[in-house]
C-alpha cells in the first residue's frame, strides 16, 4: 500500500486522513476512528481503511487507558487488589470480585460458607442483568436510536445499582467479596428489594423487546452483519454470549460449575447465525434465564455466617503455589491467575479479560461491511476499555 498523491481524496490528506493506494482496491481512504469518537465506547481507536464506505482493513489500537493493573497487583497485598478489580470492567465489579476471590481462595485453600455462595450467585446474576441491559442499550445507541433504549436500560440498571449501593456502600465500585465470604450481610429488607427487582424484570424485558426486538430497522441493521463462525470463535478463544451466539455450547456455569451453580436450574440459549442480532438476542434470553436463577437463589438462600471464621483479613499470606480462578462473567470468561511465593503480595498476578480476548476478532467480523456496521459490530462485542487496557 503506497501513498498516492494523485488520489481524488488527496486534498483531504492531513493528520487524520491519508489517501492510500492499493493495487487491488484502487483508491482507499484511511480513517482514524477514535480514540475520541462518540461511538468507540471509551478511548478505543480503530484505524479503518475504507473503500467507499466498505471496510477493507481495520486495525484496533488500544492501551490509552492502561493503568498498570497487573503490576500494581503484584505490588499490593492480596486484599489490596480487590478494589482494583472493581475498576477492570466497571459494569461488573461484583463478578470481577468473585473471580478474583475465587482464585485467591483456590490458592489459599479457603472455604466459603453456604450463605456467601448463594449471595455470590445472586450478585453475579444481578450483575449479568445490568450488564446485558446496558449492552442492549448501548448497541441501540450505536445504531442511532437517540438514546431512548439506553435510557430505559439505565432506568432498570439504576434499580440494581441501588441494591448494590445499599449492600456494599457503592454503586459501581462494590469491593464486596472477600477471601472466604462476603463483606456485609444483607438485611431482610434488602432481600425484599431484590425479590421485587427480580419480579419486575421480566416485565421490563417484555417492554424492551416490544420497543426494539421486532423493529424492522434494527433487524435490517443487525441480521447478517458481523457474522462470526463457530470455528473462528473457538480458535480465537472467544467466550461468553459472543461465543454462544455462534452456536457453541460453552458456559462455565454448566461446563465447569463453580460456586453453587450446579444447584440451579437454567438453560443456555444458543444462536445459529453468529451475527450481531444473535449476539443481541442471546443476551436478552440470558437475562430471562438469570431471572430464573435469581428467583431460585432468593428462595433457597440459607441463614448462617457469610464469612468463614478461619479466614484472615490482615496479614494474609497464602502458601507458595499457583491457582487459576475463572467464572462466567457477563462478558465472557473472566479469570485470574496467581502465583504465590508465600509473601503478602502475589508473585505474579495475571488477568484473562473477556473484553480484550473478544475484541481480537473485530477485524474479521467487520471486513466487507460498511463503517456504520463496524460501529454496531463493535457495540455488540461488549467491551469496556477499563478491562481491555487494564
Amino acid at each position: 500500500m503506497i501513498e498516492s498523491p494523485s488520489s481524488p481524496l488527496a486534498p483531504l490528506a492531513g493528520a487524520h486522513v491519508r489517501a492510500v493506494h492499493d493495487a487491488f482496491h484502487g483508491d482507499l481512504l484511511e480513517v482514524s476512528m477514535g480514540p475520541h469518537h462518540p461511538s468507540t465506547h471509551g478511548v478505543f481507536r480503530m484505524m479503518v481503511t475504507l473503500d467507499g464506505e466498505t471496510v477493507v482493513k481495520l486495525k484496533p489500537v488500544f492501551g490509552y487507558l492502561h493503568r498498570n493493573h497487573e503490576k500494581l497487583g503484584e505490588n499490593t497485598t492480596y486484599l489490596g487488589s480487590m478494589p482494583y478489580t472493581d475498576r477492570l470492567d466497571y459494569f461488573c465489579s461484583m463478578t470481577n470480585n468473585w473471580a478474583y476471590a475465587l482464585a485467591v481462595e483456590k490458592l489459599a485453600g479457603q472455604a466459603v460458607p453456604d450463605r456467601a455462595e448463594y449471595l455470590r450467585v445472586i450478585l453475579a446474576e444481578l450483575t449479568r442483568l445490568l450488564n446485558h441491559t446496558c449492552l442492549a442499550g448501548f448497541l441501540l445507541q450505536d445504531a442511532g436510536a437517540s438514546g431512548t433504549p439506553l435510557m430505559y436500560a439505565f432506568r432498570e440498571r439504576e434499580k440494581i445499582l441501588d441494591l448494590f449501593e445499599s449492600l456494599s456502600g457503592s454503586r459501581m465500585m462494590c469491593n464486596y467479596q472477600r477471601f472466604g465470604g462476603c463483606r456485609v450481610d444483607p438485611t431482610p429488607a434488602w432481600f425484599d428489594a431484590a425479590r421485587r427487582v427480580t419480579e419486575e424484570y421480566p416485565r421490563f424485558l417484555d417492554e424492551y423487546e416490544a420497543l426494539i426486538t421486532g423493529n424492522e430497522i434494527l433487524m435490517a441493521r443487525t441480521q447478517g452483519v458481523g457474522r462470526l463462525s463457530a470455528a473462528l470463535a473457538v480458535s480465537a478463544g472467544i467466550t461468553g454470549p459472543m461465543l454462544r451466539a455462534c452456536g457453541v455450547d460453552y458456559d462455565l456455569r454448566k461446563a465447569e460449575p463453580y460456586g453453587f451453580y450446579s444447584r440451579f436450574e437454567f438453560r443456555v440459549p444458543l444462536g445459529d447465525h453468529g451475527d450481531t442480532y444473535d449476539r443481541y438476542m442471546i443476551r436478552i434470553l440470558e437475562m430471562r434465564e438469570s431471572v430464573k436463577i435469581l428467583q431460585q437463589a432468593l428462595r433457597d438462600i440459607p441463614a448462617g455466617p457469610i464469612f468463614d471464621s478461619k479466614a484472615k483479613i490482615r496479614a494474609f499470606r497464602p502458601k507458595a503455589g499457583e491457582a487459576y480462578g475463572r467464572i462466567e462473567g457477563p462478558k465472557g470468561e473472566i479469570g485470574f491467575y496467581l502465583i504465590s511465593d508465600g509473601t503478602g503480595n502475589p508473585y505474579r498476578y495475571r488477568i484473562r479479560p473477556p473484553s480484550f480476548v473478544n475484541l481480537t476478532v473485530l477485524e474479521d467480523m467487520c471486513l466487507g461491511h460498511t463503517i456504520a456496521d463496524a460501529v454496531i459490530i463493535l457495540g455488540s462485542i461488549d467491551i469496556v476499555l477499563g478491562e481491555v487496557d487494564r
Binding site: 481524496l9 486534498p11 483531504l12 492531513g14 487524520h16 486522513v17 481512504l29 480513517v31 469518537h37 462518540p38 461511538s39 464506505e53 441501540l140 445507541q141 450505536d142 445504531a143 442511532g144 436510536a145 437517540s146 438514546g147 431512548t148 435510557m151 430505559y152 432506568r155 420497543l211 426494539i212 426486538t213 421486532g214 423493529n215 424492522e216 430497522i217 434494527l218 433487524m219 435490517a220 441493521r221 441480521q223 447478517g224 455450547d249 458456559d251 454448566k254 438453560r267 443456555v268 440459549p269 444458543l270 444462536g271 445459529d272 447465525h273 442480532y277 444473535d278 438476542m281 442471546i282 434470553l285 460498511t370 463503517i371 456504520a372 456496521d373 460501529v375
Partner: protein, 413 residues
C-alpha cells in the same frame, strides 16, 4: 398578499390582514406592495424563528419525557415574578442563542473560507424561501404563485447545494463523507416526495397551494371533511410524503448525514458558534416547511375539521395541524434507530418510488370513478382504492424485508 380581507370573515380571521393594512396605510400607495411583502417576510421570520426556539426546547422535553427524564428545566427567565426563576426551562432557547452568539467562531485553517461562510447563509435563505408559498390561513399567503408547489421544491433544491458546500468546504473527512451521504439521500428521496405530491396536483388540477387547499373545502354528508388524506390514495400518498419528508429534513431514522455514532456531527463537524446555530435553525425550518406543505396538500390546509369548529380562526387550525405533524417527527425520532446508507437508498428506490407510482394510478382511478352513483358503488370504489395500494405494499414490503425476520432460538441440551 395585497388584497383586502373579505368582510364576510369573522373579526379574528381578519385580524392579521387588518394589522397589515394598518401598517401599510402609513406609506404612499406606490410602495405599499413592497411594504406588504417585507411585512410578510418579517412576520414569517419572527414567527417561525420563535417557533424554532420553542421547538428546540419542546423536542428536548418530549424526547426526555419519552426517556423518562424531565428534560431541560433549570434555565428560567429570572425576571419573571413568582416563578423562582424557572418556568419549565423556558429560558433554555434564550440561553442557547446567547451561547451560540458569543461562542468563538472557529474556521479550520485549511477550510475554503468563502464557501464555509456561505453554506449556512444559503441554507437558511433557501429554507426560508419555501415558506413564501404556504397558506397559513384563509387569506394568509405571502406569494400566491400559480406554480407554488413547483416553487417549493425548487427552493428546497437549493438546500442540497448548501449541505454540499458545508461538507466540502470544511476540509474534514467526516464532513465530506456526510456531504456525499446527504446528497445521495436528498436526491433519492426527492423523487418519492415529488411523486407523492403529483396525485394531489393531478386531482386538484392546480399547482397553486391556495388552489389545492380550496379543492379540499367542503364536507361530505355535512361533517366529513373532504381532505385528501381521507381518501385511499391520499392516505397512502400522505404516508409516502411523510416518510420522504423525514428523509428530506434529515430526521431520524434517516439522520445519516449527522449520524453521530459514525460521522461525529456530519457536515456540521467543523461548524461552531452561530453558524452551527444557523444550520440547526435551517434544519428546523426545513422540517416546519415540509410539515406545512404536508398540511396544505393532504390535511386540508387551514380548514377546520368540523363545520362547527370554523369559529376558530383558520391560522390556528393550520398551526395545530403543523404542530401535530412536528410532534410526530419528534415521536419517531425518540423511537427509531437509524438505517444504513444502502438500506436508506434501497427503501427509496425499491419501496417508496414504486408505491408512489402505483398510488399515481390509484389517484387516477379515484378521479375517474368520482361519478359512480350510489353508496354501494362508492363503497366498492373505496375498497378498490384501498386494495390497489395495500396489496402492492404487502408484496413489495415482503420483497424488501426478505431475509430479515424475527428468529427463534434453541437452548443447549
Amino acid at each position: 398578499m395585497t388584497a383586502p380581507a373579505p368582510l364576510t370573515d369573522s373579526f379574528l380571521e381578519r385580524v392579521p390582514l387588518l394589522v397589515r393594512d394598518f401598517i401599510t396605510g402609513w406609506f404612499p400607495e406606490p410602495i405599499r406592495w413592497v411594504v406588504a411583502g417585507l411585512l410578510a417576510a418579517l412576520t414569517i421570520l419572527l414567527v417561525f424563528a420563535t417557533i424554532f426556539a420553542l421547538l428546540t426546547l419542546l423536542e428536548r422535553k418530549i424526547i426526555a419525557r419519552v426517556q423518562n427524564r424531565p428534560g431541560p428545566n433549570r434555565t428560567g427567565l429570572p425576571w419573571l415574578p413568582f416563578t423562582e426563576g424557572r418556568v419549565f426551562g423556558l429560558g433554555q432557547p434564550l440561553a442557547d442563542g446567547i451561547k451560540a452568539l458569543t461562542k468563538e467562531d472557529i474556521v479550520p485553517r485549511d477550510a475554503d473560507q468563502v464557501l464555509h461562510f456561505l453554506a449556512p447563509v444559503v441554507l437558511v435563505a433557501f429554507s426560508l424561501m419555501t415558506f413564501a408559498v404556504i397558506p397559513f390561513g384563509r387569506n394568509l399567503v405571502s406569494v400566491d404563485l400559480d406554480a407554488a408547489v413547483l416553487f417549493f421544491f425548487a427552493a428546497g433544491a437549493g438546500t442540497e447545494l448548501a449541505v454540499f458546500m458545508a461538507g466540502w468546504s470544511s476540509h474534514n473527512k467526516y464532513s465530506l463523507l456526510a456531504a456525499m451521504r446527504a446528497l445521495a439521500q436528498l436526491i433519492s428521496y426527492e423523487l418519492p416526495l415529488l411523486l407523492s405530491v403529483v396525485p394531489v396536483v393531478m386531482l386538484a388540477g392546480k399547482l397553486s397551494t391556495t388552489g389545492i387547499v380550496a379543492a379540499q373545502a367542503g364536507w361530505k354528508f355535512g361533517f366529513i371533511p373532504r381532505w385528501f388524506v381521507l381518501s385511499p390514495w391520499g392516505a397512502a400518498g400522505f404516508v409516502i410524503f411523510f416518510i420522504a419528508a423525514l428523509a428530506e429534513s434529515n430526521r431520524s431514522p434517516f439522520d445519516l448525514p449527522e449520524a453521530e455514532s459514525e460521522l461525529i456531527a456530519g457536515h456540521l463537524t467543523e461548524y461552531s458558534g452561530f453558524k452551527y446555530a444557523l444550520f440547526f435553525m435551517a434544519e428546523y425550518f426545513g422540517m416546519m416547511a415540509l410539515s406545512g406543505l404536508g398540511v396544505t396538500l393532504f390535511l386540508g390546509g387551514w380548514q377546520a375539521p368540523l363545520p362547527v369548529l370554523e369559529v376558530i380562526p383558520s391560522y390556528l387550525w393550520f398551526g395545530a395541524k403543523l404542530m401535530l405533524l412536528i410532534l410526530l417527527f419528534m415521536w419517531i425520532r425518540a423511537t427509531l434507530p437509524r438505517l444504513r446508507m444502502d438500506q436508506l437508498t434501497r427503501l427509496a428506490w425499491k419501496f417508496l418510488v414504486p408505491l408512489a407510482l402505483i398510488n399515481l394510478g390509484n389517484a387516477a382511478f379515484w378521479h375517474l370513478s368520482a361519478a359512480w352513483p350510489g353508496l354501494p358503488l362508492q363503497a366498492v370504489r373505496y375498497a378498490i382504492g384501498v386494495a390497489v395500494i395495500v396489496i402492492p405494499f404487502f408484496l413489495i414490503g415482503r420483497r424488501l424485508s426478505a431475509g430479515v425476520a424475527p428468529r427463534t432460538y434453541r437452548y443447549a441440551p
